[in-house]
């Protein structure tokens, strides 16, 4: 196969794969009256911005809540997982193997089951339908992954760097803060990106733990749209387009981190 031919095939395959994404964008610009046209309008010519206007009118609070939840989850995940990664990679206390094992297992527990347990606990503790409660629950998706990524990354930092710091009289905490963290930028970025994306995309915890809250994330915003038997598909798809922005930005800005994160979670190098 020649290379130009391969490029052509590659473009066609990508176009097929991304067709649903295109269709989402197309429908988001389609007029209500054209929504059930036969044949369907394949291109958003003389489209409408009605859908996006509806988003501005109705979905902004949801988007704001999602941003807040995403940011909170990132902070909590980093605070918990970076020190743990350092300990597992460089200080290696007894029980390191067992803890790594627990972290791997933790990632495999279905979210819906965690949600049920959280629901029972939150109900009695009175944190059901609160943003901090949801942040805490969302962080359970990212913390085990974060520890594993930080451990893997920090194992690659040369011991000489740490020894030099300790000869200079730096405490372990000082070493961690002033030596380890600054060189771990890539790991911090990877973990933050995924923690944000997972919190932003979470539906399971949102619907079980925040279904009746005053502040709900965008996933519930879309879900209510669909559930209300809303036939305004341009508004639903416009919200979906907006909800996809973080994922898209991530891919453009940090593509190599994304691929690294997917692989690191599964296969050891």
């Amino acid at each position: 196969m020649t290379k130009p031919l391969k490029t052509t095939i590659g473009v066609i395959l990508t176009a097929i794969m991304l067709f649903p994404v295109y269709w989402m964008v197309n429908v988001s610009f389609t007029k209500d009256t054209d929504m059930r046209a036969d044949p369907p309008h394949l291109f958003p010519f003389n489209g409408t911005l009605e859908g996006y206007r509806a988003v501005l009118d109705q979905q902004l609070p949801y988007l704001g809540t999602s941003l807040l939840i995403g940011a909170g989850t990132v902070v909590l995940t980093l605070l918990l997982s970076a020190p743990a990664g350092f300990a597992l990679a460089k200080l290696r206390p007894r029980g390191t193997g067992a803890l790594n094992f627990v972290l791997l297992i933790a990632q495999m527990i279905p979210g819906i089951i965690m949600a049920m347990g959280f629901y029972a606990i939150y109900l009695r503790a009175g944190v059901l339908n609160t943003v901090p409660g949801l942040i805490l629950a969302d962080s359970t998706i990212a913390v085990p992954f974060g520890v594993l990524i930080f451990t893997a990354f920090m194992s690659g930092i040369p011991d000489e760097l740490i020894n030099a710091a300790s000869i200079d009289g730096a405490s372990k905490f000082r070493t961690f803060r002033s030596v380890i963290l600054p060189v771990s930028r890539n790991a911090i970025v990877t973990v933050s990106l995924f923690a944000f994306l997972w919190a932003w995309s979470d539906f399971v915890f949102a619907t079980t733990l925040d279904g009746g809250g005053d502040y709900q994330p965008i996933t519930l915003g879309i879900y209510h749209y669909i559930g209300n038997n809303n036939q305004q598909w341009n508004a639903i798809m416009a919200t979906a387009v907006i909800a996809s922005i973080p994922a898209t930005l991530l891919l453009i800005v940090a593509q190599r981190y994304v691929a690294a994160g997917v692989t690191a979670g599964a296969v050891k190098d």
Partner: protein, 308 residues
Amino acid sequence: MTSHVETLVRTRGSSRVRRARGQWAAWAFLAPVIIYLVAFYAYPLYRNLDLSLRHYTVRSFVQGDAPFSGVDNYKTVFSDPTFGPALLHTMVFTLVSIAFQFAIGLALAVFFTSHFKLSATLRALFLVPWLLPLIVSASTWSWMLNSDSGIVNYALSIFGVDQINWLTSPDWALTSVIIANIWIGIPFNLVILYSGLQGIPNDIYEAAALDGATGWQRFWRVTFPLLRPVSLITLLLGLVYTLKVFDLIWIMTKGGPTDASTTLATWSYRLSFGNLLPEFGPGAAVGNLLIIIALFFGLLYIRRQRRD
């Protein structure tokens, strides 16, 4: 001589002290995450186990004085007419999804290993379905599969296929959610298998080419066997991830019509949250069954990964 021994003793002693101090420091760094795992992983799981062993009503759920009922909830679940179909659908959903995700992911990974113009960009674009929030993918597929106005039925009608009620017919609901799930899972398989392919040294291919192997032979005789460890890990991980899929099915079909696309995950949710009268006990019981299945394959995965 003496001084030598002295220094030796002294350094040994101080290194032991340092080691002990290092242990303390290590546990100080680990303490937050350990407390976190106990409070927000172990405790919810314990609560879930407790839920499944008691007879709960809405009142006793709030007050927390539900009577212990042993394995009654599990018996209820096993004798429920939904149990058989839910288990079967979980298996079909998982196995069919994985088979297609893996095959398509592998084909694409092989395709992308040769560097042509735009190959890196196109490979990155393939990640999009995996990164989108599930609610976005699920609602987009719902509209594409809409019986009357969906683009899929329109495309099929060009080839003379009659209207298919993808989401509302019991014959097609499971197929519909599987199609959407395959689409979401391809990127994950592609990325991992691609990185596995990168690990196969080029000279092996050159040697095979010298021996006159065709492209097809090269794949089956060289690539496929050498990729076996990575493939196994991809499949096991895919299994664990697919077993727990809930959002996609719930958003597209709610497990319906009449259980046609109900899996253990959606059934568990419906029992606990989907009805006006929640059945927390049986819901938790179904959830625990799902954990056992997921952990079985999860442990296989970890064993496999350790061995490599």
